[in-house]
């Protein structure tokens, strides 16, 4: 691809001579002579001196001297997205329904679908146009999948699950297993049947080995645009608003409500039956035990506002000093008393 085309694509501003083409996109340390690379943050700018790449995409603020071609952009991550989209057009699964796919009764699928080897699709499933389903996926009775959705290998989708368009579900994710619902009776647990469903709206991404349980009664809901990383647990009857982001190994207990644009760092967790307000951020490892308002940043366990938590952590780190100080004060008082 011509450097001039790339520059146009990302609405960039070139510094240096524009010499021809780019072979591929590489990491800054691994780039070869005809490669394009990225250097998005100031702290890595010195790597531009040593990379072999021909051209480097940098933020507008970049002002160092270099012999490389630099392409300055207002939003370097957006530029990265646009360029990588061009360089990632690999076909990973062929069009068509593989002859080994087992398709149930009353299954409807749209145009241009890819249904891989050994996929099992149960009765009454509906799959829209251009959707790709990789080998060994199981889809239970009556579930539906929208357009342009990608389901990677070994995903399990139980019955009565509704999945939207432009959704991506990574391998070994499990959508629709029973919620963890039991009634204790005479020191034993009796299972409460989980008869609810799941609604996953458009543009959602679900990571590998993530589990989203079906509702006990009523649905578990993941709204449009939410992104969920690997190994995340979403329990029965949770409701995620639009454009939430949950990093890896986070866990939401039953009936947790996240309003829109909530983000949670890795290994965070919530108690059940609580609400986190819109645009609130829970830092990594937060343990949220009660409702949180909108537009907050929280951390710690039990989670509190992040600046409070930071002060508290700083105080804890001064605790030994405090103990010494108190001991000293005690001696001084004793001293004063004996003087008196």
């Amino acid at each position: 691809m011509l450097i001039s085309e790339i520059t146009k694509l990302i609405d960039g501003e070139i510094e240096g001579k524009i010499k021809g083409e780019i072979d591929k996109v590489s990491a800054i340390e691994e780039a070869k002579e005809n490669d394009l690379t990225f250097c998005l943050e100031k702290k890595y700018f010195d790597k531009i001196g040593t990379t072999k790449a021909k051209a480097v995409v940098v933020p507008k603020s970049f002002s160092l001297k270099t012999s490389k071609i630099v392409i300055k952009v207002a939003n370097p991550r957006l530029a990265m997205k646009k360029i990588l989209e061009v360089f990632s057009k690999k076909v990973l699964i062929e069009k068509g329904v593989h002859k080994t796919a087992v398709i149930g009764k009353n299954v409807k699928h749209g145009k241009n679908v890819s249904i891989g080897a050994y996929v099992v699709i149960s009765d009454g499933v509906r799959i829209e146009d251009n959707t790709k389903i990789f080998p060994h996926v199981f889809i239970g009775k009556g579930s539906s999948i929208g357009e342009n959705t990608i389901i990677y290998s070994n995903v399990s989708i139980y019955h009565d699950v509704s999945i939207g368009s432009n959704v991506i579900i990574h391998s070994s994710a499990v959508i629709g297993a029973d919620g963890f619902g039991f009634v204790p009776l005479n020191d034993k647990y009796e299972k409460i049947p989980q008869i609810g469903g799941i609604i996953i709206e458009d543009d959602v991404e679900i990571g590998a080995c993530t589990t989203i349980d079906r509702g006990a009664i009523g649905n578990t809901v993941i709204k449009k645009g939410s992104k969920i990383d690997n190994l995340v647990m979403i329990a029965h009857n949770c409701r995620l608003g639009e454009n939430c982001a949950l990093a890896a190994q986070t866990g939401l207990a039953g009936s947790t409500v996240l309003e829109k644009n909530v983000s949670m760092g890795g290994q965070a967790g919530t108690s059940g039956h609580l609400t986190i307000g819109a645009k609130t951020t829970a830092m990594a490892r937060s343990g949220i035990t009660k409702d949180i308002d909108s537009n907050k940043v929280v951390s710690g366990f039990p989670a509190q506002e992040h600046d409070k938590e930071m002060k508290m952590q700083a105080s804890i780190r001064r605790l030994e000093e405090l103990i010494n100080k108190v001991n000293k004060l005690g001696k001084e008082i004793k001293g004063q008393r004996s003087e008196a």
Copy 2:
């Protein structure tokens, strides 16, 4: 189903006129005019005023005025279990052995089993009556599965695993992978073969993407009635007593022993080679580092008795105040001294 039948089933007491039938069971916010719903806790009682449901199951203590039919019961969760069992009789997999199932030598299976498409059952496996095995399950050599057990899609059961009756195992769970056992030698790790097995007794439920490792020597054991949520790690040679309950993302290190009726909240963990006594509860995110007696409630990391932990957490939250107080005392003493 007739409201009168439901009332009888759950040994309930009706208030309001008994008008005919129920179509289905719904969540209180989503219910339609002919639906039954549940309102189990006082804090949600005001929802009864706005639900469209025809009838609501409530606890005995309910005493508000309402135009709805209410059915009062002593144990509302038990009532829920009984009613949902009636409304959940959906057939999710057909009877019989699917023609694509690969069955090894000397495999025995009982009557009325359902063995789905592309299931692979290795040599010497034994499966009892009425057990359901969903597509893409793999069962290793010499393993056995009892009656009425359900194994959902994409579960892996390694060799020499014994699974009881009325067990449920959710998708992508892995039963019998090698324990994490190595001997360090010259800064490398040498693998210790894991030759033990696994015994899972009757009435156990295992969540999606949960991993239970086989014993190094001797068995990992999960006793009758224990319930394990999603994404839980149970390491080699752990022993869970009867009726334990482990919430999601909990992890037990090697050779942990839980006596009967232990329950652990989400994201809790234990060090290895320790024992937690019967009927002890570890709150969510507890990190247990030593033996715990029976009948305790513990929390925190390192875990201690819950009321101690609560006091400690309260003290930490007063730490800044304490620092200020000590500073003030210091000044006062200095003041007294200079006065003196």
Copy 3:
């Protein structure tokens, strides 16, 4: 196997009469009369009095009187490894390519491979000699797998993943899913295509339901000899040095670098873009938020040196006492003042 042969194999020293053969190896509590067992640690030595085993492998330091045959060795865990290797020669999957395996174009595989039922291998994959691939494994386009490697059932390996020799990957692990990379734009998340790959070197073991994401640009790398337990998350562009060990449920955020021989306990985690120096140990549940030097032991969250953390934890546990002390001091000062 003759006791004399075993003794020779592990370079042991026998005490007691050497009587014939061993049937099998068992756990000390479960052993039968002709079994061999292990008793590796002093705190379990009293179990030797009650085991039914014929012979017990013990450390050199053992000096109790017993009627059992004891075999003393310098490194009991190494002895265990050697003996269990002899007793674990079970064939778990047959040689050859199963007739139901779906093999793409331009796939090359070496001698003596085992490719199980319903394995799907995409175009351009290369598999070396003696490698075993269990049922329901999916391998994406252009990936490669070395010699003597074992891939258990239901593993998903995406495209362009390079796996070395003598590697073991347990069931439901996912190698090569997309990294969690998005650019926020107008309160939505736009996906950044993940075009990097993964390199897993020789002698690596990867646990069940562990997820290793592909690089965004450039590779995620796991170097020779590293061992990774179950349910671990390794994000895009992480780099693990040789012989690292990560216990279960640990999570590494994007671009984390572990130098060689780093070990991390269960449920530990790291922020992204940081480096942990060689031979550093992070205790269970450590939350590492910044670079750590080599040869350290760290714990806590935010993680600090372990002895500092221990002191800090001890101080916190004395906090209530401190509050009381300060209150008492306050009263004494007040008392002095009123006396004055």
